[in-house]
Symmetry: D2
Subunit: 370 residues, 4 copies
């Protein structure tokens, strides 16, 4: 290390930026209490941040955990208000809808995904304390050493996970697999319950595109859409004609061991006004972050989205009017229920694009765990 | 207030959920230290959270402030590492590029947007302490009372801001206007500097769509794109032919007092591997949140985005290969530089859709402050 | 609702602050696109934040959960680096040390507090994914209705918890009871492991005061203290003579059904330099927050603490010197290992005061759950 | 790098933990889509987190900035509700009380500390947008090179700051000096205003100990204490007799160029019930963190604090009773207004210990910047 400048050098005007970097300083000082010494920097441990990102939310916070191997997957929800009726029944329905193996067009699995609330409720009501939902793993796959012998599967998270953590994703627990969404679904069911109870919010999602089969924009009336219409077929597209086309498209590639992607449309009705903040926590920004954190998602658009860029301002603007109840409404809703980052009471609708699954043309035993 | 259940009632099995809600409890207890009393709940002050969302980031944190009226706009950046060379020059370039009134196709303004670093640097180097960048307001508009007389402008943030805060957005300072992006641009310039210095990252953005003029996907080589190509015309489209078409499109509507939107493509080269985490802080999720927090944004897509849903898995996957240096690379890059939420070293590219400006057909004096 | 001011009134200079509060605005505007209307504010749902505070940490994040009733208590740890050897054995020791009923001087209980790692490890090594540690509840007490019949116990959390949440603390799950510390102890064991492995940090704590029995300051050599010395008696005071006095003091009040408090001293050796930040995240501030979040804690002091206020600056200052290895050391350590909010490598030592347990003179069945 | 195990070795049962660490993997796979390759890890830039800690709060967030050199110090406050009357006057009083040089017993300085609100208010009312308060630096000291020649001053933050940041604290801007408290005081004044307006909270602080002069516990009636009593002398001790003793003690050491420390007692009256959460965000934990983040603080105690450990449970408990208004009150208040981490409506009182200033026996020109 270079010699440190003397006080004379400093007095002569040497800028401090020319001082040797880091840990070496030799200083003199005429005051009796000072000493001449050099500083060797003790090796600080490298406590690098490597695995954040498991917690979502500011007030209603969800910490998910769990992989394919190990005891189970689940979530801990903090910030749920007390006195909300809540039992396993509120979540099991959505967990069943998420579960693979429900039909021939999804990946076959044997997991039952049965959830159990281990804390946070008492006699069917939330207590305000953290809610822990556990879904035990019944179908253990992670111990299969032969998977270690495989190369990184193209477009999978394997390579990047390994580079970052030094651990193979699959053996590491498949945290990048879709099974981690179980915790999200459980927490989402609780959130939906609160929103429904407190504000009457209805949240629905359906498939609007599969491969090149596109549901026309006017085929679905967002104000009248029901869960039954969505659940009326295994593809979850509320229009029977297009649902069949989508199922045909999936069947075609499934037989060939290939995969296809699509788009999911999500709507939220009766959303109270005032959710979201200007600047960094705009409601659409928070939604975008949540959606792009889902496995295989590649795009998000709200309201008129990308198509709205084809319009002029006069064609795009939503005009105000006043309804009989004295509320300010908009005649059209290209905004998608959000203006300036804040919900305006109109129905929120957005779309999420999912790429085709990266796992293709492989046998059952090594298929990505869901 | 209803009578509270007696201990006998409770002993008889009345579930606690049937107890009267909230503040009333009448209890008896035989132990000498206890008393019979009722609890009146003192009125808790309503300290409602209303204006969060001004701070972005976890490690490199940016707090922006400022409106059209008042002393100025700017940002405070926390977490910038020390010893990074930094002066106003590093930021002024981007602030000038942001500024309205640069050409006939943007909104005319007189603000000069000259920035000043008030803390956090010493002799041109960061000190590790918070960096405060201030851009004083020179063109004061907010004090104009006649703006108060206007109705809520359609598709503007006015209505929702008022509903949430009880304050008109314009008089409140125009926090929902584009002028708040000044703080973002300044902080972004600092971030770009750090990334460039430490990792050699290059970040560029250009206009790829204006109204119905769409730059073809193969017109730009992301690996060869330069800032000069982008800055070669007032539209900032690197292809001269399409740039001209875009300028024509803007001119056409400008004359009519109308507005149009478009799409901006952003690329990042030489991104180190390992940025982003699986689950909630996937790199693309963080990018999506940042982009959808920009004024007028309606959509975000990364890599193949929405178009990728037209492909099958075999068509979409990016195959691995090893280059001469021994690095794992991908032959194609439909992933957009991110896999499993973590950067893989390939060029990141994404698109953001912007709706047509809501302010249309109005005179200069009441145009939204930029 | 009062009439809103006309534009004429506004033009005449009425300040906007005199406008009626909240949701009512009547505006006129001569521009053709505007309308006259009034805004009725739709009832926003009151999604009040009531139960935050279950998550600790920024990088190494711990979410605890669990109450006396329900399936169990535990924690989810995010941000643990991968490849740290970790099994239940690493945590069970500390959980056993925490458990009530270990000796006659603590509260008797039947819970075994056996932990199980349900996720985040593979073959005894952490994977970088969230670690879920569960301690099932075996001794169920919360279902006892007779507890509902009791008055608020003086100095307990009952009253405040009820006022805030509308739910009796005991029935709500005893989140304010000491059983929630199980999750903390488990997470603490993991953190200690990391610090030990990466930096050689040793953390020890012992009892230094019980009621009026005070261990003299010079009775313990912080540099030589061992866990065996602490565990050599049921009081966990490393000095046998004072340990006996403390045990006698506890025995005396126990027989009378009373309780006493005390002080715990904690030391950390081999702490790397550089932990903590100036300003708000000073290391001692973070320690203070952690310690004052423990049940029954009433005070925290680090280094010379309150006693240091008896000294002058010249008596208090820690002089620098350089040891043979070339490291800067301090001759004394009144700072307690932290200067300017940042660790300096010297042994950290601090004290936490615990008030006497509020539960006194009651039978076994209603004793506060530990 | 060692040869990676072949698939045969793996199949034979070699645990994955024996695989070479980090970046090297050679894998074979019989499936046609896989390749044999090795992974070299691209050097990730070390974007180490070094300077966090400048932001305080979750809902009402304060970001402070500024050093001795540079344009000024101040803060940006996010989350302040709209429509709170606020002008510079609300803050200047407290800034004047903080300013050094007010009397002979504090450090002499020439800074006027005049603040200016640059954003966040309009016509004297907050708008809900971030409030930026700037206090320009008038007395520039940081450019004095001769300070570079000094050795690390004992017990100062110099050494640790340098070790962590590689930058001398003084030149770096004195972020560890007391001048950074200006931003805190300004933000604190705003917070006090909100609490006063919304809840009628009164917050007062006074000096209760200087060196060995201790104000007796019963000398001050917390319920009757006024600001005038505190401001009645330069020491800010509300008891005239002890105030004089304290001033004498300070004068004695000042003449000798030495320094002494002391204790500040802070009270808060009319605090609404329900502030704070159980577990990690107990109100006293948040207070402790705030107080121990102040420069020179070494201890915090609330309610009975350390002295309470001398009492038994029966002596310590605060008995409940009901007042005429039907509110539950406590006869005594050893809890200090907080039980189970939540405020109970009684007066909060706590003490903070400050060590003697480390800067002693030096001339005016090199005194630590305040």
């Amino acid at each position: 290390m270079a010699a440190a400048p003397t006080s004379h050098q400093l007095a002569a005007g040497a800028p401090w930026s020319s001082l040797p970097r880091g840990g070496f300083r030799a200083l003199t000082d005429s005051a009796p209490a000072s000493v001449r010494f050099s500083v060797g920097r003790r090796r600080a441990a490298r406590l690098e941040v490597k695995a954040a990102g498991n917690i979502f939310g500011d007030y209603f916070q969800v910490a998910t955990y769990g992989e394919s191997h190990g005891g189970g997957v689940g979530c801990v929800i903090s910030g749920c208000p007390p006195r909300i009726p809540l039992t396993e029944e509120d979540m099991q329905g959505d967990l069943d809808r998420r579960r693979p193996g429900q039909s021939r067009i999804t990946t076959p699995r044997k997991e039952t995904d049965t959830c159990k609330i281990l804390s946070g409720t008492y006699e069917g009501m939330t207590t305000g304390t953290p809610i822990h939902v556990l879904v035990p793993n019944t179908d253990q796959r992670g111990g299969d050493y032969t998977e270690m012998a495989k190369a990184y599967r193209p477009s999978h998270a394997d390579l990047t996970y390994d580079l970052k953590y030094g651990v193979r994703s699959v053996q590491g627990g498949g945290r990048s697999s879709a099974r981690e969404t179980i915790g999200r679904v459980a927490a989402g069911a609780v959130a939906k319950k609160i929103l429904k109870l407190k504000c009457g919010v209805e949240i629905l999602a359906f498939v609007s595109k599969v491969h090149q089969v596109v549901l026309p924009e006017d085929a679905v009336d967002y104000e009248a859409l029901t869960l039954d219409q969505i659940e009326s077929n295994i593809c979850r597209c509320p229009d029977p004609e297009y649902a069949q086309k989508m199922i045909d498209a999936i069947d075609k590639v499934r037989i060939n061991g290939n995969s296809i992607g699509g788009v999911v449309t999500c709507i939220a009705r009766n959303v109270p006004r005032g959710l979201g903040s200007p600047v960094f926590d705009k409601l659409e920004a928070l939604l975008a972050k949540a959606m792009l954190s889902l496995p295989a998602s590649k795009g998000f658009e709200i309201g008129s989205g990308f198509a709205g860029t084809d319009l002029t301002g006069s064609e795009h603007n939503d005009e105000f009017y006043m309804d009989e109840a004295g509320n300010v409404r908009t005649r059209t809703n290209r905004s998608g229920g959000v203006q300036g980052g804040i919900s305006n009471g109109e129905t929120i609708y957005f779309k999420v694009a999912f790429k085709p699954t990266a796992t293709i043309g492989v046998s059952h035993s090594s298929a990505e765990n869901f």
